[in-house]
Amino acid sequence: MLLFPVVCFSQAFKNVKDTTALKLKIENMSKATTSIEADFTQEKNLSMLSEKIVSKGHFAFKKDNLLRWEYNAPTKYLIVINKEKIMIRDEKKTGKYDMSRNKVFKEINDIMIACVQGTIFKSNKFKTVYYENETFYKLELLPQTKNMKDTFKKINLYFDKTVASVAKMEMVESNDDLTSLDFSNKKLNAPINETIFTVK
């Protein structure tokens, strides 16, 4: 039973025939989603390490540009994005940054928000290839700009067949090191108090 999700993600994928219909479904999902809350498990697979580096936490997103990404294990780490402001808090320091003045943060923010909303396929920084199996749609995003190519070989986004939200995300680096994010206990469009996105 525990193996079920793993089996589904690894089932053979084939090309989606009607990509226009799938894009429309994802756009409708994105329009209909005003908020998302979920727990996440992040696994980092490094080619040189036999074991995975596992981190766990909770995230909350509220339209248009409010995001809280909180790691609880193995260490405490918090990122809050509130429109043009970003706050990063670790166990020792809190840093606040203005996104408009920092290209790196702007880039990371754009990717994070677009991935959470599932709208990243619209970005001209990626070329998208659409796949499906019996359980999931998979969007394979291939970087088109030099900076992105230096960082990622591809990003995979998985949606369940009802296209209600992103089920899993994978970031593959040029040497095939991989970071995966699995989302669980998802709450869609539930009320979220905006104070959790306060940058102070």
């Binding site: 040189m48 580096i53 990371i108 960082t151």
Partner: protein, 214 residues
Amino acid sequence: MLRSTKLYLRLSSVLCFGLISCQLHKYNASKKCNEVIIDQTSFKSILQPVAATKYKTGIDVLKNHLTGIMVVKQTDSVTIHLVFLTELGMKLFDFEVKPTGINAVYVFEPLNKPALINSLKRNFNSMLMFNIYNKQAQQCRSRKIIQFYSIPGKQTRFIILDSLGIKKQETFNGHRKASKIEYMFDPKTKTYTQIKCVQYGIVKIRIELNLLKN
């Protein structure tokens, strides 16, 4: 007004000189030394030879505060990799340590500044004691320090030991202190649980490694 400024500057210079002299003096006060070659028996090594070592890591450089996890792993008989990942899983750098030196295999583009990368390589090399064995050194005792190694080079490097292992390292450019590294050793687990490094000078760098349990 001008006179008082001059006086202030003179006094500051004397004070600075005095402080710097004190820092070096502790190594020279009535020291007794033997010429030795540093080997595995000289002190408890920082890293486990086979297992991967993971550190919660913080790097402060210029106005940037970078945090994440550093993975240190021996990948073959002569190669060790140091990979620094942010909490988000993004790789910021991958350094490859060989007996000939440290190479940057990958550096996240916004960080890819030669001066910064060279400083990081130099500091990690010292902190984790890469390529330290077979170096010629003086094993000394002074009136103020029970045991230390003095290694000559472009910078003079002092490795201070206590009964448990390495306690501190200091490097000097002439009389000027270039860096300080402090170690915390846990006798129960027989591991170095914390390593803190401060690089002085124009580009100040602070690095803190806290061992993560496997």
